[in-house]
Subunit: 126 residues, 6 copies
Amino acid sequence: MVEYEDASPEVRAVYDDIMKTRGTDLINNFWKALASHPPTLKRTWESLKEVMAPGALDPLTKEMLYLAVSVTNSCEYCIASHTAAARKAGMTDEMMGELMGVVGMANETNRLVTGYRVPVDERFKS
Amino acid sequence: MVEYEDASPEVRAVYDDIMKTRGTDLINNFWKALASHPPTLKRTWESLKEVMAPGALDPLTKEMLYLAVSVTNSCEYCIASHTAAARKAGMTDEMMGELMGVVGMANETNRLVTGYRVPVDERFKS
Amino acid sequence: MVEYEDASPEVRAVYDDIMKTRGTDLINNFWKALASHPPTLKRTWESLKEVMAPGALDPLTKEMLYLAVSVTNSCEYCIASHTAAARKAGMTDEMMGELMGVVGMANETNRLVTGYRVPVDERFKS
Amino acid sequence: MVEYEDASPEVRAVYDDIMKTRGTDLINNFWKALASHPPTLKRTWESLKEVMAPGALDPLTKEMLYLAVSVTNSCEYCIASHTAAARKAGMTDEMMGELMGVVGMANETNRLVTGYRVPVDERFKS
Amino acid sequence: MVEYEDASPEVRAVYDDIMKTRGTDLINNFWKALASHPPTLKRTWESLKEVMAPGALDPLTKEMLYLAVSVTNSCEYCIASHTAAARKAGMTDEMMGELMGVVGMANETNRLVTGYRVPVDERFKS
Amino acid sequence: MVEYEDASPEVRAVYDDIMKTRGTDLINNFWKALASHPPTLKRTWESLKEVMAPGALDPLTKEMLYLAVSVTNSCEYCIASHTAAARKAGMTDEMMGELMGVVGMANETNRLVTGYRVPVDERFKS
């Protein structure tokens, strides 16, 4: 993991942009780990910044989608960091409960559909 | 797959409730497949009805979360049916594009985090 | 896919053993595909034969476990072939319904556990 | 996590039913975590109780199916709790070894099938 | 799916760069689908171009890694397109057989490790 | 976990072959865990030895493929042990960075393909 003090100018420029964009003076371990390969750090940050910016979907919705994927993938770090980010963006206990309800149910019915080899209904074909 | 005409009273009662709740006179193949085991049909429908009802999260957000999970799980039927449901609930092309952006990026960073074995930051520990 | 007529002696020996072990004169497409790389064909068949032989668990239980994994992995071919095998070994509609109930529920609670980051209870630590 | 002492009457009613159904006076961390959203706690427990009850499949087979799914999903908590439950229901070291053999082999062949894009044999089509 | 003839200048610029970079006059369906949301098209292509360029790893190794991931994720389209790309980059039947051997075995042992809850050896801790 | 001192002759024979083949006097925890069911230990080791032997693909490529699968499956132990093995076989920081780039990107595009339900191009069929 590369700390700010030990970072090359290329890595520092990314760290500076992360801190400025997020209004914080902390760099998560995720970025410090990616910094062992600066091109991956830079590319990943720039994509993430673009994807998570407010657009047709608001930031809370985006964070909850991120969390839904991370839970489905069982990514512990991602669940921890995006639960924190979703909380900061306004997710309440009840919203979390409903999100988990949908995520759990979707994982259940995905398998029922697959296991029973259900053919796609004509009207759902794009 | 069990058609309405061939269904037992127990299965028909579930089919009737699905059609009434959704304001439609169509039963998807998913429910017709589950009907080969009535207790699974009944339990799954009652859970799904409860989970997808409007609450702290609105129906469009719930459908998009369902879709994000289904894409992550590569469930073709589920993607087809929940894309249709999300469209009906108001999802535009641009919202779909942003949803896919978040889902793709989350799947990417989930693996980067895992592959680099990034330790959870202290402040993310609940 | 390698048909019996076109197979090398090495591949034929495996095909013969499959047919003899299973009491059938049909070779599934799976083995015909693996035959493009004979060492993979041979190693896979020998492992599978050993693993699926009757032992502390009976053949139906083994087929149902195979099916549960294949459903969780969304492997269409595997679901089709192992549903057929489980049916042949005695799986009824009701057993299939209960199996799918367990598989669906396990996939649901696996995500609830992960999403809420539930710590392992002391008494479950081996 | 919600302890019994701090639980609302609605949550306590579920805890009481869990303890009575299982003949124990311990509540796992899983249920204490779900209790942060009582409707999810209640719905999940009622579904699980129905799914895991003895039926066409015996309790040990159901626990082993649960474990096979949990291993395939890499859910650490679920593996720990359902290994304990399967042991309690009679799973020996040898049965565990055979279960793991089937789970491992199924995960291997699922990928071989998928990677070689094996078409489903006519006779396996439902 | 957006065909070249119907594409906006922004989308055409990406299509032109894909054809030029790959020395082909064909655009895969993948890009035509992404073009429904131009920012996702542009960002994905630019990232992919950077990631797949020759570097410390040669193009064949990169294509085989891509294929290994796609097989593990059961992504049919991805397996089809990246098998074609790997073949074009020099993958023989024997290399494909060995790749599938490693992918299958890794998926098997991944589950054995997880199912037996094997603790990480001290010397493997980074 | 079965230590060498406590192992049966059957288990010791496998341990001896592992140490001889790898030129080491250490047995990883993985093998010690499998030893609780000797047939699984023996079968797994013999398959792995065959699969990972030098062939049409060199050992470093095989280790990187193993790692790519393990990262996609989020198998912590496997990532730790195969990162160590790949390093020993010559993987540099830059190669690791490019490997992670491909693995991350493949996981992202796999979902984009699936979510947009992209039909396979004619020329990619078999």
